[in-house]
């Protein structure tokens, strides 16, 4: 299964902006986050295909996952 992972703000430092990754078994957001060495508590905003998602959600073939720390503005 292919999933595109996009990282933003501080999550990019020492990692990447965007990567297409292969997974053999169904994978949750939490597993991807842990695999990237990002502490769960630092994850602020999660989108799967542009829709707000949660850590427990499972990704499907072709999904795009976007991860942000807690940020704001206005």
């Amino acid at each position: 299964m292919q999933v595109t992972v996009r990282l933003f703000a501080g999550f990019r430092i020492g990692r990447f902006k965007e990567e297409t990754r292969q997974y053999d078994v169904p994978v949750t957001v939490k597993q991807i986050v842990t695999g990237l060495g990002i502490p769960e508590a630092e994850v602020g905003i999660i989108f799967i295909n542009g829709r707000n998602a949660s850590l427990d959600q499972t990704l499907a073939e072709g999904d795009t996952l976007s991860l942000f720390p807690l940020v704001g503005g206005g």
């Binding site: 703000a9 905003i45 989108f47 707000n52 720390p69 940020v71 704001g72 503005g73 206005g74």
Partner: protein
């Protein structure tokens, strides 16, 4: 010394002071400007005529050591919207006026003579003098002239050429501690100042001046709790200082709600070129500063010092809204061009949101191609600054230009340009745009926090459920916050950390020796909204004005392909409180 109301009458060029009427005593900032405008300005008057009044009021906590309390509210009837208006800005003037014991400064009337005037506000009162040399000058030149005349520590409130020409997009600038400027941007208040023939207001405060605190120990304790919460919350403590507000470019783009090409699409192909992350890297590379406060005592410091490629200062307070408006909305993907325009707009004295959205509408109408950043810079400098016929047309704002060019996709509510979140994909903010007493204004009830950023709860941005109630609660809380003189970004910790909210109430109580409860604060917010709403109804507005333009219901908005689907009755529920 008890606070007083200062009144400057520009018809007979007199300045007087008066006691604060009892019913105004507990008010500051927006609560006070709106109360005064509602009490003294006839709702049907012409906003640029002698009956309108321009009211400046520091917030209730301004002038104290409270973190982020230096916001100055400016109120009047708006020449852009025709509604009541409050717009606020940082800078040093709010704290200075508060330290002088000025509860509000009201400018009324209109001089007979065709001359420009400066007001000089000091501990001895207000002096009005003719100002022959500054006419036509940009805000930066005005700030420099005042610093030269009265010294470094002078506070300055001024208008640029746009305000002098009474353009509906004109703003009011306030000098910050470094001599740069912040703006009370929205609603054309610069035109009201221009109509009073006041080019600038200089403020000087004796060094020892301080606002009295009724209960110093209690006050100090609450100040500490509050500052700690601001520093500990991830948004105000880390996100905002590091990336500024423009971190939102990528967030809102990912969410599919970044209005692009005059509100046609929800994502901008070149988003990363104008993002907060890119800005952060450029600032570091060019020797700027990623953190900077718009006034003394700001601990969040969302502002920054942005240098050009040669390492020379270009802009500060380079904000998400400004970058989005000229960037995604006009399809300009060059951050340096946007910074250049930002600085030009500050100097000319026009609202960056209204002006750039106007350019997007003009692009749709064929005046210039989308993406033409150089064209925008040229029109700003040669037409808007000089007041050519084209400059005057742009100066009328997005709705005026839409009419002139026969454009149907004109993103305004009550004639004020819709800012950087598409209401189809972020429905909560759409309710705020519709119902705000100010015309389309994101800061009036920032539902983006709960819809997208997941601060202060979680309401699905693409669904209607819960949005009206969310916007109502936020607008009530914001009206109260705007009265305290607190920067809107304290809302992030205040929404999430209960002690932060309690500390705000405690600080107000200790400052004045009163005993408000959290419920009183909510009641204050409600009263402010009701006062403003009644003014608008008396000015001729009806519930039919609380609607989005038709195209939002007709045109599907990619990538989510959503439309605006609230009925009129559902929107009108907002006012049931």
């Amino acid at each position: 010394m008890a606070d007083r109301i200062y009144r400057v009458n520009m018809t007979d060029l007199t300045a007087t002071t008066e006691d604060v009427p009892e019913q105004w005593a507990g008010l500051g900032g927006r609560g006070l400007t709106s109360t005064i405008v509602a009490a003294e300005v006839p709702p049907t008057c012409h906003p640029l005529g002698p009956d309108n009044k321009l009211v400046f009021a520091p917030g209730l906590l301004s002038g104290t050591v409270t973190a982020n309390s230096g916001r100055l509210s400016v109120g009047a009837k708006s020449p852009l919207t025709g509604t009541i208006k409050e717009s606020n800005a940082g800078g040093t003037a709010s704290q200075q006026l508060a330290k002088l014991g000025i509860k509000a400064l009201i400018i009324e009337g209109q001089p007979e003579k065709d001359a420009w005037y400066t007001l000089h506000v000091t501990a001895d009162g207000v002096t009005i003098s003719e100002e022959p040399d500054l006419a036509g000058k940009g805000n930066f030149a005005v700030v420099n002239a005042m610093v030269e005349r009265h010294g470094d520590r002078t506070g300055v409130i001024s208008i640029g050429p746009a305000g002098e020409m009474k353009m509906a997009i004109a703003n009011i600038s306030v000098k910050d501690p470094e001599g740069k400027i912040r703006s009370a941007g929205r609603g054309g208040l610069g035109a009201v100042m221009g109509s009073k023939k006041v080019k600038c207001i200089a403020v000087n405060v004796p060094r020892e001046a301080a606002v009295p605190i009724a209960e110093p120990e209690k006050f100090k304790a609450a100040v500490r709790v509050f500052a700690k919460a601001l520093q500990e919350h991830p948004v105000s403590g880390q996100g905002l200082p590091t990336y500024g507000t423009s971190v939102l470019i990528n967030v809102i783009n990912e969410a599919g709600g970044l209005p692009t090409r005059n509100f046609r699409y929800g994502q901008f192909e070149h988003h990363d070129k104008i993002s907060g992350e890119t800005m952060h890297d450029l600032i570091e590379k060019r020797g700027g500063k990623t953190r900077h406060g718009c006034h003394m005592g700001c601990v969040i410091q969302c502002s920054q010092i942005y240098n050009d490629a040669g390492g020379k200062y270009k802009s500060s307070g380079f904000e998400y809204e400004s970058i989005w408006a000229m960037g995604a909305d006009c399809c300009v993907d060059d951050l340096d061009q946007i910074a250049e325009a930002d600085s030009l707009m500050d100097d000319i004295g026009v609202d960056t949101i209204e002006t750039s959205v106007t350019m997007g509408v003009a692009m749709e109408g064929g005046l210039l191609p989308f993406g033409d950043g150089a064209g925008i810079l040229r029109i700003l400098d040669q037409d808007v600054r000089r007041g050519t016929p084209l400059g005057r047309l742009i100066g009328g704002g997005a709705a005026a230009v839409g009419k002139a060019y026969g454009v149907t996709r004109v993103p305004v509510v009550k004639n004020q340009a819709i800012p950087a979140y598409d209401p189809r994909a972020v429905k909560g903010i759409g309710i705020t745009y519709c119902t705000s007493t100010m015309g389309a204004d994101h800061t009036a009830g920032y539902a983006v926090a709960t819809n997208i950023l997941k601060v202060g709860g979680d309401v699905d941005p693409l669904k209607k459920e819960g949005q009206v109630e969310l916007s109502r609660n936020l607008q009530i809380a914001t009206a109260a916050l705007d009265s305290a003189g607190l920067c809107i970004f304290v809302a992030f910790p205040a929404l999430d950390i209960p002690e932060a909210f309690t500390a705000i109430v405690d600080m107000i109580n200790a400052r004045f020796g009163i005993s408000l409860t959290a419920d009183d604060v909510t009641e204050l917010g409600k009263n402010i909204l009701r006062t403003e709403h009644e003014f608008n109804l008396a000015a001729g507005f009806t519930n039919k004005d609380d609607r989005l333009p038709e195209f939002f219901s007709r045109e599907k908005f990619p990538p989510h392909n959503v439309v605006w689907d609230f009925t009129g009755e559902e929107i009108d529920e907002f006012w049931n409180f």
